[in-house]
Chain length 192, copies 2
Amino acid sequence: MTEDTAAPRRKRTDARRNVEALLDAAKTVFGTSGVDAPAKEITDLAGVGVGTLYRHFPQRSDLIKAVIEREIDACAEAAPALAAEHAPGEALARWLDRLAAFVATKRGFAAALHSGDPAYDGLSGFFMAKLGPALESLLDSAVTAGEIRAGVSPQDLLYAVAKLCAPLPDEEPGYGRRMTALLVEGLRSAGR
Amino acid sequence: MTEDTAAPRRKRTDARRNVEALLDAAKTVFGTSGVDAPAKEITDLAGVGVGTLYRHFPQRSDLIKAVIEREIDACAEAAPALAAEHAPGEALARWLDRLAAFVATKRGFAAALHSGDPAYDGLSGFFMAKLGPALESLLDSAVTAGEIRAGVSPQDLLYAVAKLCAPLPDEEPGYGRRMTALLVEGLRSAGR
DNA sequence: GAACCATACGGAAAGCTTTTCCGGATAAGC
DNA sequence: GCTTATCCGGAAAAGCTTTCCGTATGGTTC
């Protein structure tokens, strides 16, 4: 039903450029001032008017979603490279570490996920859809190589890491990683 | 340094009544419309003007914090009763279940905790301060009774349950509890 | 390379929410 | 009952997101 053959027109270049500029600016601002930073700050950094922001991202949450989805994509895309460069078990460990770092660093991600705002309902689905296959492939390889016990669901592991590594105000550093390790330990023993 | 002896005057009764009404109304509204519900909705339900709300809770987040802290208190206070009525291991299990239910049910709690807003910085500290001792006592009893292995830090366990049970949009029901069980499993095996 | 027009831009204004302010009310103490 | 510190209520201020629309501009066509 999608008519990709009859593409009527290409999107204007300035429009595409502005979208990129907005995403870049938003990523920066979210990093420095948090996801609650006023939209003005983002448009100023991007050198663009507010109207332009809302043309491309009708709601504020759309921009946040887009920034996060971009980073999830980057995380998923890191898997093949790791699989090619390292032994299966090592590749899995490194990827999980990258995931943990992403979740721990991007405070806005945890905030959006737990906000309860319906606008972000699709986010955890996207997270799962993109990262699930990536993790599954790494997991399968590790299991096949006998470096990891079978019986671990990629879905469960993904959520668990995402949740455990979400940063809390005054928690000791390294908590997320420690707990993740403990969880994997549990999964191994639970695997019988 | 606190001069509780020289209490100059008692807080007016209507003031205290309004604070209670506001907390009750807020709890209800947060439950039905979420923590992002407009303040107006709360003051209307409490039968009070906005000015009154802001007199007692200078910032919106103060009200949210107060509601959450109230529930944390209730959770902590449930521990002694459970300890009195059940065997140590059972009491621990039931209390953890209550904690899990609290975290899973009160979406606003997870949202506040992960929001990144400095206004909620003290919240995880309060959570730990109130619930840590409660859990520690239950844990100690269970360990002493030989029903639970030693080597589990109350702090780690508390945070882990809080994080794992925080609800995500489309996650399967029971995930939090399943993961918590897995984690305890891991802690047991890690206890050597 | 000029003219046309669909598409995109910018920023002013509207719409909501939170937060402040202050004249008027009312418990508490005498 | 009178006094006074404290509190109440809601109107106004402030701040943010979102809408709107006249203007500008990239793409296409001749």
